[in-house]
Symmetry: C2
Subunit: 147 residues, 2 copies
């Protein structure tokens, strides 16, 4: 199978998304594709009373440790899943936008992302998966996660 050359696994770093990563690994292997593992850090959620300066300070202080934490999280997850050759990338910003942006920059032809939670009879895709689906220029595989 040579349908995909660059497969992206969008990870939220949780153990429950290991199943998504394992599917990404199998698909990449079957396609002899490169695998990119991505986690997006949301830098800051401003409170209603924050001043511009307080926001600027918080962003400057918060992003580097969060980015480092995410990088370590990706390394640990990649090791756990045996994704030794995966390219690990941390983005900062809106997850849906960053995932699609990085996918385009890296010529990704398949994004693999988990579909969270069951609400009544319907799955809640989550705004990230939903946003990726509507923005991505490539194929998207939604993997159902058992919780």
């Amino acid at each position: 199978m040579q349908m995909y050359k660059h497969v992206m696994f969008a990870s939220d770093l949780s153990q429950s998304c290991d199943a998504v990563g394992l599917k990404a690994k199998e698909i990449a292997w079957a396609n002899s594709a490169k695998i990119i593992m991505v986690h997006i850090v949301i830098p800051f959620e401003p409170g209603f009373s924050s001043s511009i300066n307080a926001i600027a300070d918080a962003v400057t202080q918060a992003v580097p440790p969060l980015e480092q934490f995410a990088k370590s999280g990706l390394e640990i997850q990649a090791k756990r899943l045996g994704l030794h050759d995966a390219k690990l990338l941390v983005g900062i910003g809106s997850p849906k936008r960053e995932i699609v942006q990085i996918a385009q920059e890296r010529d990704v032809d398949l994004i693999i992302i988990g579909g969270h939670g069951l609400h009544g009879l319907d799955y809640i895709l989550g705004s990230t998966a939903d946003g990726v689906l509507h923005r991505a220029k490539c194929d998207v595989l939604i993997v159902r996660m058992r919780e």
Copy 2:
């Protein structure tokens, strides 16, 4: 790769969804999976002024030829794609509900469906693909269709 045992290709019978069918074929082959090809017939769109009897008559008369037409359409598409071993199924009703219903009845673990059209920067998934995504209990692969 043995991730999927029953792969469903949801077809709108158009030539532009042949690319979706070819991906379904490759994925089924790589997984040694059975492939089910499905098209759903929407039986009737009542006009505002239709009486109950007129609707009942129209439904009774319209469904068998439409179903037959869809079956022929599936056969032609299956032949065109070399899907000689595919199980061909025609459902009647709401496409998103029927696709998910048939998928559950047939133990489908991956539904493959086309994502239509580009509207500005965003893809329009179409209400069928969107509905399937939110209802399906299994993985869903959205294949981008070039138009």
